[in-house]
Amino acid sequence: MDLTSLTIDAARSAVQERKTTALALAEAHYARIQKEDGQIGAFLTLSKERALEQADRIDRMAAEGKTLPPLGGVPVGIKDVMSTRGLRTTAGSKILEKYIPPYDCTAVMRMEAAGAVVLGKMNCDEFAMGSSNENSAYHPVRNPRDLSRVPGGSSGGSAAAVAADMAVVTLGSDTGGSIRQPASFCGVVGLMPTYGRVSRYGLIAFASSLDHIGPLAKTAKDAAIVLRAIAGRDPMDSTSADVPVPDYVAEFEKPVRGMKLGVAKEYFGEGLDDEVRHAVELAIDKLKRLGCEIVPVSLPHTPYAIPTYYIIATAEASANLARFDGVRYGHRARGVKTPSEMYRRSRDEGFGAEVKRRIMLGTYALSAGYYDAYYLKAQKVRTLLTRDFDEAFCKVDAIVTPTSPTAAFRLGEKANDPLAMYLADIYTVTADLAGIPGISVPCGETKEKLPIGLQMLGKHFDESTILRLAYEYEQA
């Protein structure tokens, strides 16, 4: 049995039936990390002690004949924006280089309660700000399919680790596409749940009205299992919703035949790569053959999504990142003589270029004289973008689009043009703004063997429908 190519169910059953142990699974994955990650760079910190302790707990359960929880013994990775008690958490930033959280993120706690073995913390763009993982203050991540290319971002390490069999599943975070776009670039499944579905307690905040936690996985079923484990109301996060969490895997039994799928022309316009277009059109044909009805829908405000996003996300980021002041945690500049000098120099030294750029843009958009013109305007357009989806979802059950306009680009290709980089998220940001769930599943390759992603968007709290579609699409 190849221990590093298993799905969640296969890994869990193997441990349950004593065909292997959680310890052996963890060690096989560490061996693979040792071998592969030198060139990929997906991990920032390994947590061997914690992993082996948890593996031992699971193995004892299995030895005692107890039924393992849904992720029992499954080796996972956690994006380094989620706090882990006693385990360094950097958010990909120098400012948190030595930060050891005193508590666990709820999503991580729930993963471990469900039996997952945390192998380590995944590389990402600094504070999750980026679309290529080149903004990590430590080192970039390389796409396992082609080492000259980016894995996408900001959850680039999370996507690359799953693609390279260095973890069975990982958690990522999605503020403008940061789970789905890297999933698409690396050829794995990435699920952004509905806003409020998964608690963000312990997630280092980027933009609080847009941040989501979700899984990157090898299959839709694995994503469904993880979502069920981490979803649901958490009193520690007042934005987590009190909405029942279904058994997503049980829902796979329901047929997709007769489902209505919206296709919006706004997602197939200028800027869409021909090979990506072709692959997505073939995928839509396949869904049609599965018995889905394709319905044209219009999302007319789509061209305004990126500008709206970059005002709202940066405005919220400028407020959230004000906490990094060099006092309670994080980097403090040496030899500072006044508090003001301490704030400025600590932040200057601790933050990278993209983080500073976004703090500046957000502060500008919120500053006196510009608030109405930028921030309030963007909030109003956010209403229009959300209404587009409301209207479309009166007619259809889900909407299918490309995840990204292109396949993975080369390292350095967009590094000096922030606007070009922002446009990499053109098909993903709108779902974050509206708070609806979205999933990216692999749908073929370019001639250069680079993965292409198909995105499915669902109604609020209807992850079931897009997971079922993704599952059926995968099986067909």
Binding site: P235, M236, A241, V243, V327, T338, R357, K380
Partner: protein, 112 residues
């Protein structure tokens, strides 16, 4: 150009960033290019559109109630220890760049 060097200096000040001269020049260029793109929002008439600050007000609300009562699920009783006990002193100070075991230490606040 909408953003001037003076604006960059002012905004850096508000954001508690110092920025080198080189960074300020790059910021001037990048902010202008991004804001120029963002200006396309002005093509839309939003005079009758309400702003949307967050997604949460779309679900879990009790429409029959007023104000914050509508979000009753998110409320909780005031309890002495909160939902989680406060961190022990030592743990709360463990990540501080400078602490004396009891307080966070910072450079002198009041200038003579």
């Amino acid at each position: 150009m909408k953003v001037t060097e003076k604006d960059v200096a002012h905004v850096a000040d508000l954001a508690n960033l110092e920025l080198t001269d080189e960074e300020r020049m790059a910021m001037l260029r990048d902010l202008n290019s991004i804001l120029e793109y963002i200006d396309r929002l002005n093509e839309l008439d939003t005079s009758d559109v309400p702003p949307m600050a967050q997604v949460s007000d779309r679900y879990g609300v009790d429409e029959s109630k007023q104000g914050s009562e509508r979000f009753a699920y998110a409320n909780r009783d005031d309890i002495l220890e909160g939902l989680r006990k406060s961190l022990p002193h030592e743990e709360a100070l463990a990540n501080a760049p400078d602490a004396d075991g009891q307080f966070f230490q910072v450079p002198k606040v009041i200038e003579r």
